[in-house]
Assembly symmetry: D3
């Protein structure tokens, strides 16, 4: 499925494979991972292909791990059985917030994949125990803002990614002071904003899946 947040476009796809990585074999439990990548022309200035450089950069690794971790929060491994779901998130066009768009879209792809598996009776139970959605929030000057586009992102003093369940609990909170360190009051303001944003995305995910 193609997720669009403003000018950001991310293609999210789920792949189901029977079996799990070696370290998990025989446990009866499933596994979920993510892979994130950007097309070289997704940004304004073309970036080199990681396949051509022969190495995955630190940022790509970090986001792939974040996607996997976030989506695993939705899943009951036992009900999934020894199956793996791999979530590919490929950024076709980037204008800020690609990682949170990827997580939000990957949830829909995951839910689709689980429905497909259940129709084929491929898993022992219902592995989908939660939904997740993610937003980025930031501070421009002194004002907390939701979903910064690229030009805002560059100017932001603080950048925070928040992943929440449909029920309003936190799965991941990652806040970084790019400029001036932030105080507790500002942190609280950002968390309020993120909570409202995730609730709205949860509603849109449910609509898409219905």
């Amino acid at each position: 499925m193609l997720v669009e947040f403003g000018a950001t476009k991310v293609l999210c796809a789920a792949t189901v494979e029977a079996g799990v990585p070696r370290w998990r074999k025989g446990s009866g439990l499933g596994w979920v991972t993510g892979e994130y990548a950007m097309l070289p022309r997704s940004t304004n200035t073309r970036s080199d292909r990681e396949s051509v450089r022969g190495r995955i950069g630190g940022r790509t690794h970090e986001i792939s791990r974040l996607i996997g971790r976030s989506l695993r929060a939705c899943v009951d491994y036992k009900a999934l059985g020894e199956n793996s779901i791999l979530l590919d998130c490929d950024v076709l066009q980037a204008d800020g917030g690609t990682r949170t768009a990827a997580i939000t879209g990957a949830y829909v792809a995951l839910a689709d994949a689980v429905a497909w598996m259940r129709k084929r009776r491929m898993c022992p139970g219902d592995p989908l125990v939660n939904s997740v959605a993610a937003v980025s929030v930031g501070v421009i000057g002194t004002e907390p803002l939701l979903d910064l586009c690229y030009t805002e992102d560059v100017k932001a003093e603080t950048d925070m990614n928040v992943v929440m369940t449909g029920g309003g609990d936190f799965v991941e909170v990652q806040g970084t002071a790019e400029g001036t360190p932030f105080d507790r009051a500002l942190l609280n303001g950002l968390l309020d904003l993120a909570t409202a944003g995730c609730a709205e995305l949860t509603r849109l995910q449910a609509e898409t899946l219905a």
Copy 2:
């Protein structure tokens, strides 16, 4: 630009860079290269990312080189000046003929890029001296066919990719007997079919650019 041939979808983008590779510096001549890649879920069964494996496979290399070679046939290096154009061809969905779709689409991206450069007076002359289009033709049983989709491709005895200029000359002819070797008569039949197919694509390219 997004090229669609049946269910095959390829995103083609041109990037203009001032300067040329080191071995060409000071020559006053430009350069054109191609990079081809498939998204992991572009095929029916997911393939591993080349960035994750840390190596570009032989097939990817081969097609990237073919794209560069084909597009260079359109270009007067001197009129381009010491500038490089890089053509990215990313396959979003694959159903046969991805390399020929990539070349045909890359020409349109190249023509766009050249127009953009000329508006900015970035090159000394008009570097676009030709157009190119490409088709794949094959033999199913004993019958030559144009533009095989994936299920036909798998069954084909012979697979041939032909790149031609808008004027009807050959830039590249690559024919491979996957099964039974083919005789001269069959080769001639395939070349006739390819010539007609490329002429039709040349017409569509002109329409798109107009």
Copy 3:
């Protein structure tokens, strides 16, 4: 310098180099980066050397980037001039909290290096505008705890790394629900605990440097 937190031992060293990475040349601004690694026998079960595998793993990349980002919060790039400081953090023995120990120790190495540079008048001003310290906090059962050791870490429902300035502001907040997602009240409890822990470390850093 060697940092010890319980059984965790991290060797932190700063290297000063004249010059900055290419993308920053001519800006008059300095740069700070981190590199993190674990000796293969620092953990209970030996892990393969990343040099032997030929690739740095995602976790190593992520922590190296975190260390660089955290320490850059201490530094006025302009006062540093076009110099780079590289912070090597090598884990000799690991028992939980290696990344926060690395950041806390790297600050001391950084402050030492800056003092050394100033004595030699290598930088135009005083680049050290802040101190940073870091702690990990977690939830065992439902109770927030400071500085988990490895056996606690494995059982933790939530794991949070917090980097703060000596003045009590946040530089980085990274909280992850390993098990059950956490609610806002629990998040607040963890932040309180982290604030107290970082204040204590700031005091110890000042003592060490004095």
Copy 4:
């Protein structure tokens, strides 16, 4: 065996291994692959070793694949049984036409290896159903020429490699316009020349094997 075409010298060797690649196991069918490489001093100006650069270049990959594909046209996989034959083609000295010399020589090495296997009753039937030979043809000015040496090759407007069976059918046709694109008449002239050249090589291969 050592193949010499003018000043071009290629060492071709076949290695027989019981078993086939994983994706082919249990099929009862054999497999044939090629590996091509140039010694660093085989050309006039030394080229870097691919082992030292840590990557196989696109050209090497492409030729290795071509050699495998061409030689597979000789082989009945079922009669070969689940055995693999690997054809190593190492260029000791290069003066144009190394890939076609490699294919022509590899056929002799393959035929030798098959004879060796049959003597030991290692394969269920006679896997050698065809012979293959290859030539390069090109256009200097407007004249089609057989077997260009390096100085001719550099000047050629068009370069074409043709792989044919002993019976005169085509296995592979690869023609590239390096300069001016070529028309159908010129293509026909090149194919005539290649057909005659391959017939002569087929005769020489038979002599060598007798």
Copy 5:
């Protein structure tokens, strides 16, 4: 264990693993290997991490192989059974003679590991049939000297590493003329010096293990 020779500090650790490399499976014999590395700040001028460069340098490879070979001279593979012992030697601080310090310390780690295995009855017999120790000797001007530190090492005309058993036999002799080639008399002088040095280290190893 931490070995110190003057200012040189090497951390040596043995890891026991059930099983042997694939090529040795089913033989009933054990195996011993070494891995050597230097921390980036172990030398006066920081060297790049090999994990970051993605390749192990020639010197690292060579020393790792030397350590493995030397320690295997102590071991009866049959008495070890199908177990592997991996000796990690990580240089924390380098001031000449790191490879010989690594071997001498690795022997103590190996003896410890073997004692640990025997207490758990993990090996069929007593695999430790010898001890080994190593020294470096060199020529400054015309005078043979034992255990050069870094500043001497740089000036040495000849550099020789000698590995000997506790019984006074040679396991490895590696002498290199860095400057003027050396004659037989000088070689004999160096070997006398090395023999005395290794005897002293053998005594110290026995003390440490007792």
Copy 6:
């Protein structure tokens, strides 16, 4: 040039390049390096190409370094000027003693290259101040033997490579006990044998160059 020692065949070639590696620029001194490789079919059982594995093995690195070091003992860097000579040693067929054959042959290639440079007045003086030759000696049972072939090599208790100048001094002595450690008397016997062998090779080198 092609060196043959019994069934061992090594192709040795020298390449002269103006300029030296970066760390040596501006010193006025030249440099000499070696690169060693084995063709995959040079041994009885085919070994994988290092270019295909994407890594140079430890043994290849070690021998390349030994070749460079040995040949540098012949050269006056100042008389060579800021030029580099690269010695490629490619093993076509291996039957023991490939590294010593490579060194002995590389000297002849080096002497040729130096003569070629001097004719063109490319170097300020005569850089060739020594000749080098190398032999392998070993112990079968208790008897020292010169130039072991592969089947002897496998059985040898001790294996020693000795590189000597034409004047009879030692450049490199590398002795390894593969089985039982060796005593001083045996070491002396091996060194006598090596000295005689190198003297004979020095005579043959002079003949070849005359």
